[in-house]
Amino acid sequence: MKYSTPLADNVKEKPLISLRELDYTYGQHGGARRTALKGISADIFPGDFIAVIGPNGSGKSTLARHLNALLVPSGGKVWVGEMDTTVPENVWKIRSLVGMVFQNPDNQVIAAMVEEDVAFGPENLGVEPSEVRRRVFDVLAKTGLKDMAKRPPHALSGGQKQLLAFAGVLAMQPKCIVLDEPTSMLDPRNRKNIMDLLVKVNREQGVTIVLVTHFMEEAFAANRVWVMDNGKLGQQGSVEEVFSNWKYLEDIGLELPAARRMVKLLSDKGLNLPQREHIFFPEDLVEELCHVL
């Protein structure tokens, strides 16, 4: 589906997060050494919606954890604002700027009541109690969890738990939210809820979003797509730029979005759509077919 237009690339502003020649190797303190990230350089600007895609094992999750200093580089540097992530004193401030939502909805539940769970983040930041309360109720309303405020988190469905995790991060008012495959365990309706919320928060409030996902359709919401290939940043560009290069995507083991696959299938069977290079969204496909048929 076509999402609303992303915020324009504001390359004039300074990047929010910068990666320079980022290397990361696992197992440096004993255990098997494995290079997970190699020489990654990229910038994330305020208001961006970045989709990070790549096959399993390409380093997407590892990369995500460098953005809020859960991991620090073995080589190269990661800068959040003006802060170097390897400096321990910066870590707390970095994490208040860059929040993170993880894949498993169950393992992010901290408190025994929904509103307490959302309050956890702001409380850690030492936010004044009345402000915490205001933020909690504001964010519960935004995520549609207002009625569940006094219930225990384990009474929530998986999709609601992810919304809860997102609410907890949003209440900290970070400049950027990183999400590591947040919808992979959810059903279509809940997936849509999360995506709608992400798009809303990005387009309306200018919160930078970095979404690690293996659902190609989710990448359509982005203004920039990063393709991870064996620890390297293989490609980056707009949705159109990246998804035009379908040979490359297939080679590294990614599945193309459904509309693209359809274009390819028709092509294989002898029907070459004239605009095929520009078709990414199902709506485009329908338009093109109506033209041709």
Partner: protein
């Protein structure tokens, strides 16, 4: 001539959550014949997992009866032995892994069947082969050091090693990346074709269901909303959306085209949709390049 493999007769199941009563299944009646590949689709909370657990006696109906191969699952004697005939793979089955080696973990089931060591070895080898793993390569490794996708395949092998006549899988593809899903789905289809096992696939993904099933059962809020072959079952897109489901991409595409005035018949796989589109193209005088 089809032996009624699994039969649900007016089955209702409810339980108490705190002070509320949850009606997980409401008057469900269903017949699954031997050798069929049926998908049970529904959003979370629709009752599909509860349905799955009734297939091998883990749960027994509060009202109504479930018959597996003619035997009533509510009888203790039947319930105790049902696991040998109906293999149930639950959600995130990799959570069940516990043995020191992959071989021992997959052998857990066969050993509980009291098979000889040699028979167990054969069962384990075959089961791993069916999920695309080599028992010689992977047999001695600890299951905890495998990747997520491999763990899942080992867990499924653990059930396949029982050689069940029915295989029930609850969302086996959830959380896998696209290549993992494609591979597992393909292997399930192959297994069904080769071994003639009855397969019941529980999923919320219509594309997957459409790709592999003979029949589809749509569940919503504990009730069966629709049953039948794909064409009969794919209701309006709006109805499906209200139930939290999505039509397969191909179906959505064709319906969109139909809405624009093109004469296309229903289709649920990309191949079918391509065929329909090409039919129209050729009829308009377009030439295949």
């Amino acid at each position: 001539m089809s032996c009624k493999c699994i039969e649900f007769q007016n089955v209702s199941y409810m339980y108490n959550l705190g002070s509320r009563e949850v009606k997980a299944l409401i008057n469900v009646s269903l017949k699954i014949p031997k050798g069929e590949f049926v998908s049970v689709v529904g959003a979370s909370g629709s009752g599909k997992s509860t349905l799955a657990k009734h297939c091998n006696g883990i749960l027994t109906p509060v009202e109504g009866n479930v018959f597996v191969n003619g035997k009533n699952t509510s009888q203790r004697a039947v319930k105790k032995r049902l696991w040998k005939e109906v293999g149930l793979v639950m959600q995130s089955p990799e959570k069940q892994l516990f043995e020191a080696t992959v071989f021992d973990d997959v052998a857990f089931g066969p050993r509980n069947l009291n098979l000889s060591e040699r028979e167990t070895e054969r069962a384990v080898e075959q089961a791993l082969h069916w999920v695309g793993l080599d028992s010689k390569e992977i047999g001695k490794i600890s299951p905890f050091s495998l990747s997520g996708g491999e763990k899942r395949r080992v867990a499924i092998a653990g059930i396949l090693a029982l050689s069940p006549s029915v295989l029930v899988l609850d969302e086996p593809l959830a959380g896998l990346d696209p290549s993992g899903r494609k591979r597992l789905l393909g292997q399930l289809k192959l297994l069904h074709k080769d071994q003639g096992i009855t397969v019941v696939l529980i999923t919320h993904n219509m594309d997957d269901a459409a790709a592999v099933s003979d029949r589809i059962v749509v569940m919503n809020e504990g009730k069966i909303q629709a049953v039948g072959p794909l064409e009969k079952v794919f209701l309006s897109a709006q109805e499906l959306e209200e139930m939290g489901l999505e039509l397969p991409f191909a179906a959505r595409l064709l319906r969109c085209l139909a809405g624009r005035g093109y004469r296309v018949s229903e289709g649920y796989t990309l191949d079918r949709a391509a065929e329909e589109i090409l039919k129209i193209y050729r009829n308009r005088g377009g030439h295949s390049v």
